[in-house]
């Protein structure tokens, strides 16, 4: 009996592994290539071979191509929830929302603060910075009590301390915390909603010298009611409903007259302000201006001739539409997707102000502005 059982085990496990291997190979060959498309120097390739990071990439790549991965992750979430705490792949599965529970960027990037400072010192206009907490910072009280609930606030304060008076620092944390009972953050993502962005816009626009526009004057369109954000993709499991992606349109005189997307190879293409094509893709958030591209330039019918440069991450994408009523031109640069220095994209002398707008996670760990602002830090 024991022998038969062992033979059946051998056959069934071998068959299962073989099927998964074949399916994974097929998925790797036929699937989309999401691998490293950036420039990798020969030296860094050699280093990755020596220090083992190439092996890590292979391990991660294999997992990414693993057959039926989304279903596997869903099983993972249900198994973990049944077995122990509702923390799956660093995400806390609460009854009302998903919250990032991994302490990824435990320290702020001093190099990033230095880059912003150097930029401010070499720039004629005013520089403002908004460090935005993620949903984990605003809804920290929903996390188990042993998790440090004040980390994000401390990180934002610490980052602001690294800057001097040359950079105007704008508080978003307290505003969002105060309004946390409202729909200011997605339930399935770490990012703010358009409403959250509007709440902070009211503070930011005053610091930029304008009066904020009234909420009543906006018409709101629910572009999608099935948005499942980054936190959902890490768990494939949620006890609450998917999120809404909203488009806020101001009923005023100023209209968007043109939008252009700028790629790293110099290609410029006309585009609509909101990319509605994205609603039919996997990345619904690409609906917002410029998401997934290095730069977007937006021109309006406002004749005041004022130009604003925004350097930011995905938080900036849903924030920018609120600025358009006040400026004749707004350019947004996403350092995550740029490969060259700032001067290869724009002449910053044409902009009277620069607004840095990042989620605090982007300002932790490595320097997200490395490469883009190197020309300002070199002289230091």
């Amino acid at each position: 009996m024991n022998r038969i059982s062992n033979v059946i085990t051998a056959l069934s496990v071998t068959l299962f592994i073989a099927v998964m291997l074949v399916l994974t190979l097929i998925s790797a060959v036929t699937g989309d290539k999401h691998g490293d498309t950036g420039k990798v120097s020969k030296l860094s390739r050699i280093i990755s071979l020596i220090d083992g990071s190439m092996g890590e990439k292979l391990t991660k790549g294999f997992a990414d191509s693993f057959s039926g991965r989304i279903d596997w992750v869903a099983i993972d979430a249900k198994t973990e929830s049944a077995l122990c705490e509702s923390i799956v792949n660093g995400v806390y599965i609460g009854d009302s929302r998903l919250i990032a529970a991994d302490n990824t960027g435990s320290t702020v990037s001093e190099e990033c603060a230095h880059s912003i400072l150097s930029y401010a010192h070499g720039y004629d206009g005013a520089v403002c910075l908004v460090a935005v907490p993620g949903s984990a910072g605003v809804y920290s009280e929903l996390l188990p009590e042993y998790m440090d609930s004040h980390t994000q606030k401390q990180l934002i304060d610490r980052f602001y301390e690294l800057l001097d008076t040359g950079v105007r620092r704008i508080d978003a944390y307290n505003r969002l915390k105060m309004l946390s009972d409202n729909y200011v953050y997605y339930r399935s993502d770490n990012k703010w909603t358009s409403y959250g962005a509007y709440c902070v816009y009211r503070t930011v626009i005053q610091k930029l010298g304008f009066q904020p526009l009234s909420y009543d004057k906006y018409s709101i369109e629910h572009a999608s009611d099935s948005y499942c954000g980054d936190l959902y993709s890490r768990t494939q499991y949620m006890r609450c409903s998917p999120d809404l992606l909203d488009i806020y349109t101001y009923d005023g005189d100023t209209e968007v007259t043109g939008c252009t997307l700028h790629e790293n190879d110099g290609t410029v293409t006309e585009c609509p302000l909101y990319n509605r094509e994205a609603l039919r893709s996997d990345n619904l958030y690409a609906l917002y201006p410029g998401v997934g591209h290095p730069m977007i330039n937006i021109r309006t019918s406002n004749a005041n001739g004022r130009k604003l440069l925004v350097i930011g991450d995905d938080f900036a994408a849903s924030f920018v539409p609120f600025l358009l009523q006040h400026y004749s031109e707004v350019t947004v640069i996403y350092p995550e997707h740029t490969t060259g220095p700032l001067s290869s994209y724009i002449n910053n002398g044409e902009y009277e102000r620069t607004l840095f707008l990042f989620g605090i996670d982007s300002l932790c760990g490595g320097n997200i502005l490395e490469g883009l602002l190197d020309e300002y830090t070199k002289g230091d």
Partner: protein, 459 residues
């Protein structure tokens, strides 16, 4: 690459088994060595170069000692030199003191697949056996390379004498039955690591992240239990995976753990816990030293000291040393108390309490931190239970109960003692389904990152 990763289970292992199966019998050793080098190269060329150089060092060490012995020279001199080199390398790469230096080449972080502590014991044992005449130096570099680098043994041993290793290698036998038994053992080890140890590690981290002065007694005991269980499941899980892989290739390595937790005596625990390394220290350190004296008290002191060395070997800090010394002392006391009747009824409870307290000492990074943690276990820091302890117990009760059951030998005993042939048949017949379900669950838990790398202790 480690065993508990998708790329290993679904790509490297099946392809390796296939290549090894297709290789001619006379070249199987060479093929296995090449596969082991490929396994190592996933951790970087630096690790590969280090491992090859380390093997060459000990291979030449064996030959030099053998030559000195055959020539009636002074084999003690080369033995001392090569042992110093082996131990020096281990200290350099595992010690916190020299972390900065080893960090220059990055080896301290990427030596994960190489159980350096275990490899050092194997190599040092080999050199000492040649010195004492129990073993002749190996001239076959391929066979010796496998002794050091064979990938099923690479992470968690088992530590074997060279003669036993060669006996196992020569007795290679492949059959569907052995292959199934190997896969069963591998999946069992994988489940120990991925399902139990990783989640227990999260529980331990939840407790250890709280300041000691804020810990209630119940939370502290829960944390200590999580640590001890996690340590057991990590070490035994990796060992089972290695032994299972070995069996799939046709090599039967001995088990490393025999359900040590919930033993009714510390002495029983000692003989069931990480059997081969503990035996190594007894064989190569304790016995030779004890032979030098006839004084009972001195022999007892040596036994306690060896326990201290074992503790230090695990953790490479004063906490490990202290934990080992205390364990050795308690072992000695227990031998004198084992005749008492009360020990028969309270044995499991007494052993468990001692192990949890020792776990608190062992887990700390400093002695004072461990003492504060033990203080919290006694309730001196705060109240006996608080909302955190209730939350953790509510969240992790299923895991803790299943882990405690799985770490005991209750299931095994149930099968062995099952009088009914039908019951035994049902339990045995359900094994393939159980193994497949465990593999599916482990695959799901690794599906996001592709690996399970939470390692409580790097040997």
């Amino acid at each position: 690459m480690i065993y508990s990763s998708l790329i290993f289970i679904y790509a490297f292992l099946p392809l390796s088994l296939l290549v090894h199966k297709l290789a001619p019998a006379k070249n199987k050793d060479l093929v296995l060595l090449i596969l082991s080098l490929i396994f190592l190269s996933f951790s970087g060329l630096a690790v590969l170069v280090f491992a090859v150089a380390y093997t060459a060092l000990n291979y030449s060490g064996g030959l030099v000692i053998q030559r000195a012995r055959d020539a009636k020279g002074l084999p003690a001199l080369p033995l001392a030199a090569f042992l110093s080199a082996d131990i020096g390398i281990m200290v350099l790469l595992r010690s916190q003191l020299l972390r900065g230096l080893s960090g220059i080449i990055g080896l301290h972080t990427i030596l994960c697949p190489l159980g350096l502590g275990l490899v050092t014991l194997s190599a040092a044992g080999y050199l000492m056996d040649i010195f004492s005449g129990r073993q002749r130096a190996e001239k076959d570099i391929v066979r010796f390379g496998l002794f050091i680098l064979m990938f099923p043994r690479l992470i968690m041993g088992p530590v074997l004498t060279y003669s036993r290793f060669t006996r196992i290698m020569d007795k290679r036998s492949q059959s569907a039955d052995a292959f199934g038994a190997g896969l069963t053992l591998f999946v069992k080890g994988l489940a120990k690591k991925v399902l139990a140890a990783d989640n227990l590690y999260m529980l331990y981290c939840a407790v250890s992240g709280v300041k000691t002065r804020d810990l209630s007694a119940l939370t502290a005991w829960t944390g200590a239990a999580a640590y001890v269980l996690c340590l057991y499941f990590t070490l035994s899980g990796l060992a089972d995976m290695g032994t299972g892989i070995g069996r799939c290739f046709g090599y039967t390595f001995p088990d490393s753990f025999r359900y040590p937790l919930f033993s009714s005596r510390l002495g029983y625990f000692a003989v069931k816990w990480h059997i081969q390394p503990v035996r190594w220290f007894v064989r190569y350190v304790e016995r030779p030293l004890q032979k030098q004296t006839t004084h009972k008290w001195l022999q007892a002191l040596i036994s306690i000291s060896v326990c201290g060395i074992i503790g230090f070997w695990y953790r490479f800090n004063t906490n490990g040393l202290l934990c080992g010394l205390i364990f050795g002392l308690l072992l000695l006391i227990e031998r004198h108390l084992s005749g008492f009747k009360i020990m028969k009824t309270t044995g499991v409870i007494y052993t468990s309490v001692i192990l949890l307290l020792l776990g608190a000492v062992f887990s700390g990074n400093t002695v004072s931190a461990s003492m504060r943690f033990i203080g919290a276990m006694t309730g001196s820091s705060r109240e006996l239970a608080d909302s955190l302890s209730v939350y953790l117990l509510r969240s992790y009760s299923v895991l803790l109960l299943v882990s405690m059951y799985a770490s005991s030998d209750l299931f095994r005993t149930m099968i062995l003692r099952a009088g009914s042939v039908r019951l035994r048949s049902v339990l045995t017949g359900a094994r393939p389904v159980t193994v497949l379900l465990m593999l599916i669950a482990c695959t799901a838990l690794m599906s996001y990152s592709g690996t399970s790398e939470m390692i409580l202790l790097r040997l």
